[in-house]
């Protein structure tokens, strides 16, 4: 089947994978706690939230767009879901409504971009400010605490010894892969990211796909938000602030290009894991908070340089 395409894709990420392993080996030399099963599960669980958001972000960036509003959508849907739970409606309904809200806000982003031709950066920046404002207005700035135990399972549950968030994230990645690389919709999304005019002239419903992609991004942000508040047992209006940066960084570190039409969720997965491992390593090694950022920046830069180096060699 698409064998040589696969090999190509793998080759492109080869350097990144190497950089990732070098990082893992280095940290495991510095801390014997690092490569233990509980910590690996811990890292996976922590990356699940950024991972879920980053899958949506990957789709958005594949269309040559960007979504700065993910963190705010997460925040707004989280507080509203928490409030719905407090109001006593059935858990599954609250979840459904929360996810639907995320989907709708994302869809509005899509409309602003396709119907009103607002550049994605501006449209989602506006939405980021707006949704955060709504989250604060809605809660009056106060956290909503004490959530239904059966709801919290989404964040705290385990299947066997694997945390539920990890399984959800894995599912999201797998579905993302199926959608982008196996379904015709994915191929259409790559095509429109590659050349929007050509896509339109080929009869691809470009606007519909763009709206869909932002809606999915909103939906996934909402999903990530549920996991997060499930774990925290509380939704704060500030929750999710700055998450857009982590998600975008993961996507771009993973090799998806801002010009659109090039990249994949597997690259994003590596990006997400790299970021999570850095954060985990810094905590395990008890790096002082002053030096934390320096180390983080240097590690990301070195990882990418290694990646490019390997790419050149290939």
């Amino acid at each position: 089947m698409k064998k040589s395409e696969k090999i190509n894709g793998y080759g492109e990420r080869f350097g990144l994978i190497i950089a990732f392993f070098i990082m893992i080996i280095t940290i495991s030399f510095l801390s014997d706690r690092f490569l233990t099963l509980p910590n690996i599960l811990n890292i996976l669980r922590q990356s699940s939230i950024n991972g879920i958001i980053a899958v949506g972000m990957t789709m958005v960036i594949l269309t040559a767009g960007i979504d700065l509003s993910v963190g705010s959508i997460l925040g707004l849907t989280a507080v509203i879901t928490a409030d719905l739970l407090h109001s006593g409606i059935p858990v599954f309904l609250a979840i459904l409504l929360g996810l639907l809200l995320g989907f709708c806000i994302g869809f509005v982003n899509g409309l602003l971009i396709t119907k009103f031709k607002i550049p994605p950066f501006i449209a989602t920046l506006g939405m980021m400010t707006l949704a955060r404002g709504l989250a604060f207005t809605y809660t009056q700035g106060k956290p909503i605490t004490g959530l239904n135990e059966s709801f919290r399972v989404i964040g705290t549950g385990m299947i066997g010894s694997i945390p539920l968030p990890v399984i959800i994230a894995a599912l999201v990645f797998f579905l993302g892969y199926l959608f982008l690389k196996r379904s015709r919709h994915g191929e259409n999304i790559y095509a429109l990211g590659n050349n929007e005019t050509a896509a339109e002239f080929s009869g691809i419903p470009v606007k519909r796909y763009i709206s869909l992609v932002y809606a999915l991004s909103g939906f996934l942000s909402a999903l990530a938000g549920m996991i997060l508040i499930g774990r925290l047992d509380s939704a704060q209006p500030i929750i999710g602030q700055g998450y857009e940066f982590d998600a975008i960084a993961a996507v771009v570190v993973g090799g998806t290009s801002f010009t659109g039409g090039h990249g994949s969720v597997w690259g994003t997965l590596i990006g997400v894991l790299i970021i999570a491992v850095i954060n985990n390593g810094l905590n395990l090694l008890d790096v002082s908070s002053f030096y934390e950022q320096v180390v983080k920046g240097v590690v990301i830069a070195i990882a990418l340089l290694l990646h490019r180096l390997a790419q050149k060699k290939n």
Binding site: N39, Q46, G141, K142, P143, L232, Q236, P237, N279, S289
Partner: protein, 277 residues
């Protein structure tokens, strides 16, 4: 004295409204202003000193009768206070002080003392022995600095306690959760945790619960509603109460009193309290 304060407009500049502590402070101030019939204009600096300077300039332009400032930083606020002084607007600082300029009155409780209070209670609970973790606030903010300073002044003088991890979680509950998760992985023996605010300690409590680690003493700071409830239910050992609503209320009270010709103390301490079960 309701009549006297009629028509007074007070400007209240808050360092951030992203933190329930300041939201409660704001509400205390609002309630008092409503009671006294004064008008309150509130601006949010979002922890950014330059936004703060801007906001305060706008309030001065607006011609408020007095300024209640909760500075993002004691140094960075000085030029703004001087501007207000030049415009003849009396200034009151709230919760955090200023390093210069003419301030009529400072209404606050002492962060350093609060840190000490938390540490002393921790020493008492631990019997002077154990591995301690400190979750720090946003690096470079004065709250993080002062609370850490107070806490460490006690802990470092106590040979039985050793701080095994000291990491920032940026005053944020979600980060408190993940950072403490990571620390739990690194440290098999943790006896107590102190966090620079309640948000972080509540995140840490969730992390410990999820990991099934019991017997850890958690102490927070701020006494926000969630934390007080957590103390009641036994999840938190204690939280340092600064009585934010009281601070806000006293601030408005002092400003109105001073504007209507009364005299106010140059420093109005708001007592700290340790909330325990």
């Amino acid at each position: 004295n309701k009549e006297e304060s009629d028509g007074l407009t007070l400007g209240l500049s808050l360092s951030t409204l992203n933190n329930p502590f300041f939201v409660t402070l704001k509400e205390g101030a609002e309630a008092k202003a409503a009671e006294l019939g004064a008008k309150l204009i509130i601006v949010d600096s979002q922890d950014d000193p330059s936004k703060e300077a801007t906001n305060i300039e706008d309030l001065i332009q607006k011609g408020v009768d007095a300024l209640l400032i909760n500075p993002t930083d004691a140094d960075a606020i000085v030029p703004s206070i001087k501007k207000a002084n030049a415009a003849g607007i009396p200034v009151f600082t709230i919760d955090r002080g200023a390093a210069g300029g003419d301030v009529v009155s400072h209404i606050a409780s002492d962060n350093v003392a609060g840190g000490k209070m938390a540490a002393e209670y921790m020493v008492e609970l631990l019997g002077g022995k154990g591995n301690v973790v400190e979750l720090e606030g946003i690096a470079g903010t004065s709250a993080a600095r002062d609370r850490g300073k107070g806490f460490n002044s006690v802990v470092s003088g106590n040979s039985g306690l050793s701080v095994v991890a000291r990491q920032t979680a940026n005053f944020n509950r979600a980060e408190g959760l993940s950072v403490f998760e990571n620390i739990l992985q690194a440290q098999s023996e943790i006896s107590a945790v102190f966090a620079h605010n309640d948000e972080m300690i509540l995140g840490a409590v969730q992390a410990a619960e999820a990991a099934g680690r019991t017997g850890i003493i958690f102490i927070g700071f701020d006494a926000v509603d969630d934390a007080v409830n957590a103390v009641k239910s036994g999840k938190l050992a204690a939280t340092v109460a600064q009585q934010p609503a009281e601070i806000g209320s006293l601030g408005v009270d002092a400003a109105v009193k001073s504007l209507s010709g009364g005299s106010v103390e140059s420093s109005i301490p708001v007592p700290l309290a340790l909330v325990t079960k």
